[in-house]
Subunit: 554 residues, 2 copies
Amino acid sequence: MPVDFFDTHQEVLERAVAATAERGYWSPYSESPSPRAYGETAAQDGLAAFQALQGKPFALDQQGAQGQVGGEVSPYGPALGITYPRVPAATLVARAEAALDSWRDAGPRVWVGVALEILQRLNRRSFEIAHAVQHTTGQGFMMAFQAGGPHAQDRGLEAVAYAWQEMARIPGLVDWEKPQGKHDPIRMRKQFTVVPRGVALVIGCSTFPTWNGYPGLFASLATGNSVIVKPHPGAILPLAITVQVARQVLAEAGQDPDVVQLAAHAADDDTAQALALDPAVRLIDFTGSSAHGEWLESNARQAQVYAEKAGVNPVIIDSAADFKSVARNLAFSLTLYSGQMCTAPQNIYVPRDGIQTAEGRLSLDEVAQALAGALGKLSADAAKAVELTGAIQNAATLARIEQARGLGLPVVCDSRSLAHPQFESAVVRTPLLLRAEAGDPSLEREWFGPIAFLVAVDSTAQAIELAQSSVRRHGALSMSAYTSDDGVAQALRRAAERAGVSLSLNLTGPVFVNQTAAFSDFHGTGANPAANAALSDSAYVANRYRVVQTRWHA
Amino acid sequence: MPVDFFDTHQEVLERAVAATAERGYWSPYSESPSPRAYGETAAQDGLAAFQALQGKPFALDQQGAQGQVGGEVSPYGPALGITYPRVPAATLVARAEAALDSWRDAGPRVWVGVALEILQRLNRRSFEIAHAVQHTTGQGFMMAFQAGGPHAQDRGLEAVAYAWQEMARIPGLVDWEKPQGKHDPIRMRKQFTVVPRGVALVIGCSTFPTWNGYPGLFASLATGNSVIVKPHPGAILPLAITVQVARQVLAEAGQDPDVVQLAAHAADDDTAQALALDPAVRLIDFTGSSAHGEWLESNARQAQVYAEKAGVNPVIIDSAADFKSVARNLAFSLTLYSGQMCTAPQNIYVPRDGIQTAEGRLSLDEVAQALAGALGKLSADAAKAVELTGAIQNAATLARIEQARGLGLPVVCDSRSLAHPQFESAVVRTPLLLRAEAGDPSLEREWFGPIAFLVAVDSTAQAIELAQSSVRRHGALSMSAYTSDDGVAQALRRAAERAGVSLSLNLTGPVFVNQTAAFSDFHGTGANPAANAALSDSAYVANRYRVVQTRWHA
């Protein structure tokens, strides 16, 4: 008899549901890669497991494959040499539809139980996944472990918690009794059934394959849909491991493993389009460029599309108690994973006449120098710095740095190459910080990667206006501001709420604007062009299923 | 100081939230137009109020009007002679945007309190609204009272309850404390703010202006959006009264009355398109034809569109204990408001070799005769029948009856004209029931009005297959079936769940497939082409607002 995974995980589920309402700190998955949390041999076992995967076909027993595909090359140098079953889009959809037939009948308890068990097992493989994330995305190991492992699992669990909370409100069998005055009441019996939308598609990105992939995967799975996971051709492995775990759990639960399938494909073929346009595909979760996201929204009209696209994240500096800590915090945010994050700051607005600090007024030049100094300090020790910057994920990002340099804007701090002590062919770069005037056309687009602009503005009021207008037109996934003035703080909050972007105020410690904590911070708002949904909330899950009722006289 | 309407109505709100989860019978608004529920003079006062409205400009103090518009003619004969301020689309949107600025800051308690007070006052004007609905839609008085008054108010309250439930889960100010081992924890404070999408548009229909209009109006209003209500030019009055009440309550609450505006306009002008395509309009609720609904979905891409469109509602007759009661129930459903309901049955599938009943087998001809008999009986007494049929709302529906007659299909029961004892120029028609073979192309579209088809099929299995396929392709808002066989009932339920349509099984008493009860029955599923949303559920409200957070170190 299949295991009841719901029972096993009910406690963590209930705690997760409570956490989404309380929004204080909570996580069931340790973000510390310590032996205490993961076991004495977890680190070495994970590394060995990752090494054992290389240079051979990945063990995934998907039917209907026509050969193998895969050409991942680690941004740290080595080609991974792993191949994956290449299953045609039409076959994947047909198998997903076939698997849906019994999966839909299993019902919310099974859907949620299976999802929770998958997350639990992914957690146990966090080290192996960390190496897989590191060597596909170029993230440093610690970020690959945390963001690719426990934090991604948190976001997956969060989506399951929202899904369960909404579905749990749908009663099964209900008696309906309508009084008729002196006559007998009318008695009806009603059965309410949660039904999935159909086949779901998750389109992964190359920088955060698990963190950005899990919310959609688990939201769709936990609401009864079958899911096709289409990784970016440059970052297949982390999602292949995920799909492998999912299929094992499904099989143990007595379900068809094809409820979750991997759609590995070659770069630049038409697999993504073929899948997205298939009439059976009813849900699409996408993370990537605005062009691709908008194409999906315009063309995949048969599906609900949840899209996270490009944004231009503003920073506003009005005043600060201690600008050193501001510069340190900002420099970290710019350097972290070389700005290859949808939440990394880009346009830093500073009044032309400088800012007030506790130690007196700082001119715009002094602000620039302090930022350049903080950036320099962070990369002074290359061996330490590379753990923070990671490696550049792809050639387009590298070319973008050169393109930015070619703008002819004054350089506040140039991008430098760092030698990686462990991986000599890794391309490691520090941030490029340019100086621009308000209104410069270069500020009107996303420069994904380690590229930022110090923007001279007439006043804080103009900065707020420009930032608000930019968020409305180009979108943003984060907004950060520094001020010691309560009135300015109010104005900033008002602008953020009107533009529809979350605001981080006066971050000077160990919290960074690029980072959000599951169960507390929403990632994205769904209220500006950067994303049409937030991770996670009721709206993110409630339309992935529908309710169909049957009624009859009791 | 403005009144706190939330406090006043908190109890009914909490009861409503509970009712949406329990889904048993509940309503705070009496559906009986009795003096006990509404007061001794309510009936005559309501009639007098309605009569006093006729032949003059409607009292609505909207600014920016350019003259008056309005040419409603009662389907029972008389022109109403009422005019309404004609405000250009751009002015309506500009005023809605201006009103939004303070309304959004009022917050969920005020939004919900105002919505609940509006509903309460609408309830008190139920008789006046009933006459307004009767003399715009052509409904009989009792239906106009119930569906146009308390039942519409129920659906409005239901949407408010869902909105409140979702918004109430968003905490205001939260402390977030992340442990750091031996070190001090990281402490952040976070403020979560519910922000509205923007300007909402409600596009009303000519047959159920309040019942189909209230869910969108109240869902958008209760989530902080400003709302432009655009009635059908043939059924303005019921929504004009609604907007009048809303503006009074807003003013008393110290809010800008322009949070709710009426967009009365002339038939066939471009007001609807201009409003729908305005970039500031972010939410649209629509009830009407598939062509218009699909136009909105394709063109008003800046907005979330909740659309209820056409459908083809199937009935499957497999077997019955007592076919007389089946025929009576079905005849009632076909006759009620002359089938001018999105939930009225259209294609009635019956096996060619007849059906099993407790009194033996009935041939297809006998089934047809029984249905014709029941239809005839219902309209035998014209004075009684007209209360059931109401009047034909518009000429297109009348023409459609002729078009159906012209199909050349055998007539099971012809449509007859009835003389209305009170309104001699009312156009009153009984249902036309035609006989068709499975596969007849006439079955592949909606015949809105008193037009239905008795469809001969090879077997119940074929009937289920045809119904399921029809729902998938053309949509349906209801599905009804009769069977005494548990296996067939299971197959029917399975088909309904897969096609995404609610099923009514063996209705033979005083419950009809065209009717749904708020707080228990979902209206529509959002899972087939007839509607992309259900009235009401979490998905219907959760994306009408977003959450924006601000975080800072505590």
